[in-house]
């Protein structure tokens, strides 16, 4: 069966390659704010949609890139399954699987279940010459050829237009429970997160904000009950809603219109007070700062601890949104970019200024 939307996308990329016409790849537009400023002619992928295959017993789902995350999650929900990395949708029903893979962002469950790249099994892409290619597949284990499928996760479309994705799926846990504890300082919460994570407890989320620590436990009834006793604190019956709002940046903390910084660091890194209101997620491995902080100063501090900083929202999108790369690493990126996209037409400048 000819696939018209795929053919149209291929023709558009081939033509752009011939004319060296930069493209701005757009799925549902839910993450249009993310990364450096988009330039180039819009290339819309949302019409290329539909679930190709879903077999709950195989724990694999394949769908075209324009399929919405909402549609996929609804389908999985019917089988008591889910996307393990809880991708943020930023309040939009339009967020697509393609954008989800390209941005590579994950929600509160990430430290305990894995990132987008951990669940990507295979992709079908268009490279910058408009060639259709498949990497990976629909099986859990596959080491044939370089792992170019996972490489697409977080590449912001710079290496290829994602056409189709196969994802590993996980079952929903039978029981979930959120506990809330009080910690005036985030350092105490982070210390607790890391102590708990070293024990065989069914942790599935750990966050701190404004003196409140929340921990989510997911698993069998007995394991969750015993873990809750070990953790202590009070049950937060509205916990499910809290995690959803954290995931989609709907908490009041994220409504601030000043610059939002995302700090990714080793979970126990002691970064000091960091002169800004803070929200700690991922058991300490992801920290959000809003307003007040000097982005470049935070960057230097975090880099010393082995982490990196993204100027996530409301910053100057012509500046360095992502942490600058060391020279040999940057050179590798540039050569890799050229290997996929010799004319430099796929989302140029969205990740780094010069490519």
């Amino acid at each position: 069966m000819p696939d018209h939307t795929e053919q149209r996308l291929q023709q558009a990329v081939q033509e752009a390659h011939r004319n060296t016409q930069p493209l701005n790849i757009i799925g549902g537009g839910s993450k249009a704010f993310y990364g450096r400023e988009a330039t180039g002619m819009p290339l819309h992928t949302a019409a290329h949609r539909g679930v190709v295959r879903y077999d709950p017993a195989e724990l694999v789902l394949s769908a075209r890139a324009g399929t919405t995350v909402a549609e996929v999650e609804a389908l999985l929900g019917k089988e008591n399954q889910m996307l393990g990395f809880e991708p943020p949708r930023f309040g939009r029903e339009t967020a697509t699987l393609g954008g989800m893979v390209a941005a590579g962002l994950a929600g509160p469950r990430r430290p305990y279940a894995g990132a987008v790249r951990d669940f990507v099994l295979g992709v079908k892409i268009l490279n910058g010459k408009g060639e259709i290619m498949r990497f990976g597949g629909e099986v859990m284990k596959n080491v044939a050829g370089f792992d170019l499928a996972r490489l697409m996760a977080g590449a912001m479309g710079a290496l290829g237009v994602v056409l189709e994705i196969s994802l590993r799926i996980i079952p929903q846990p039978p029981v979930e429970k959120t506990l809330v504890l009080e910690h005036p300082q985030h350092a105490a919460a982070i210390a607790l997160f890391n102590r708990l994570a070293a024990r065989p407890l069914p942790l599935s989320a750990a966050a701190w904000h404004a003196g409140e620590t929340r921990l989510r436990l997911s698993g069998g009834a007995e394991g969750v009950k015993r873990a809750a006793e070990a953790v202590g604190g009070e049950e937060d019956v509205a916990g499910g809603q809290f995690w959803q709002r954290l995931r989609d940046h709907e908490l009041p903390f994220f409504q601030d219109q000043r610059e939002l910084l995302r700090v990714s660091a080793p979970p126990a890194a002691e970064l000091g007070a960091l002169d800004a209101p803070q929200l700690v997620d991922w058991g300490g491995a992801q920290r959000w700062l809003v307003g007040g902080a000097d982005g470049e100063a935070v960057r230097a501090l975090v880099a010393r601890h082995g982490g990196h900083v993204t100027r996530f929202r409301h910053g100057d999108r012509r500046s360095a949104i992502f942490q600058p790369l060391a020279a040999p690493l940057h050179a590798l990126h540039l050569r890799l970019k050229r290997a996929f996209d010799p004319a430099g037409i796929l989302n140029p400048g969205r990740l780094y200024r010069d490519w």
Partner: protein
Amino acid sequence: MNRQSLSRHFRQFLPRTSVIDQVESLRAYECDGLSAYRQLPLLVVLPETVEQVRRALRVCRELRVPVVSRGAGTGLSGGALPHAQGIVLSLAKMNQVLEIDPINRTARVQPGVRNLAISEAVKHLGLFYAPDPSSQIACSIGGNVAENAGGVHCLKYGLTVHNIAGLKIATIDGDLVTLGGAALDSAGFDLLALMVGSEGMLAVVVEVTVKLLPCPESASVLLGAFNAVENAADSVASVIAAGIIPAGVEMMDNPAIRAAEDFAGAGYPRDAEAILLCELDGAEGDVGEQVGQVREILRRHGAAHIRVAADPVERARLWSGRKGAFPAIGRISPDYYCIDGTIPRRHLGRVLTEIGRLSGEYGLRVANVFHAGDGNLHPLILYDAARPGELQRTEELGARILELCIEVGGTITGEHGVGVEKIGSMCVQFHPAERAQFHAVREAFDPGRLLNPGKAIPTLARCAEHNAMHVHRGRTRFPDIERF
């Protein structure tokens, strides 16, 4: 370049014991775990420091000498097969655990550290390193990264790629590049994912930061015996559909069961057509409940016999048969050849039936062991290399089985890598544009193509030759197959 003059280049900065140039000593490196392929290298170089690795690479780049990196040499696809005009860069002397960080739950280790040694080094903290390839007592973490090694616990705990937090790599230019670290992600492309499984063709791994997980509170193993392979396969699907992710699910067919039982005395029923071993782990009460659920599912699918290991001794005994399956086959056949295809589990019945038919067609016995949870099949072809032409027929049967795996939407290798062994089958799995993309990626790292040349990614010429040979066999390829 001859052996002696090349040797002098390395002796300028390496101790005498770190440069092997005597033919009798080089023999130890002529093959890896796939001994059907052998080749003497010009030299073996064994650096002890990152600085020495970088200098060695610069020498090779300057003199245009191919470099084959090698860990413990346990690989099963000939990935560490030496190059006649090149050096073997052995990382075996770089075998120190550099740092254990119990708070961030990571360990920084050198590439020559053995897989099992990591878990042993952190056991006192109640932590472990999850991927456990069957060679874990001997294989090195650097080799695990190169091959994206799996093991029996992948379905729940993931492969090497899911359990590595960071790498330090040396490029062919001798540059040192850090990828990832103890944070959960890093800026830029996910080169960490790209490096894992790249079979030593992009860079040399000189340091690995692994993730450590808390040891599960309890574990239990069930054995189910079936009169039909399909029933065993259906049970696995039902377990997973019930929302249970076992720590491991292994399946064996009758020839494998009998060989394993004769070898290990694990208590497997010799007349069963298939057995399943299902390990469940987690919180104590939950494991007990899941054991009950799985037992019921196995019963419903017609298991003739179900046993639950009551204690760690019994559990180890049940596993002993599976873990000894390869040597067990080695006892009943002069030689055996292990296939590593992976398929969507729903096609297991069809694939096993077809393997049975092919086994008859080629007149070669096949025993099947199977990582049933993740679809990774290990058909073992029994042969005798002493009989003229038998190895060749074995390899041809192997290639036919791999084509079958591709046909049902699977892959030619789940965890052993392509190496030299499956390079022809890569021509079937990937079309020319895809293979050209692989080469372009490789050249972004190594424009002179000096790192492990001739492995993993076939050249255009190699595939032309491969396809010509197959056309000669008079069968159509699968031009229109859906490979997803």
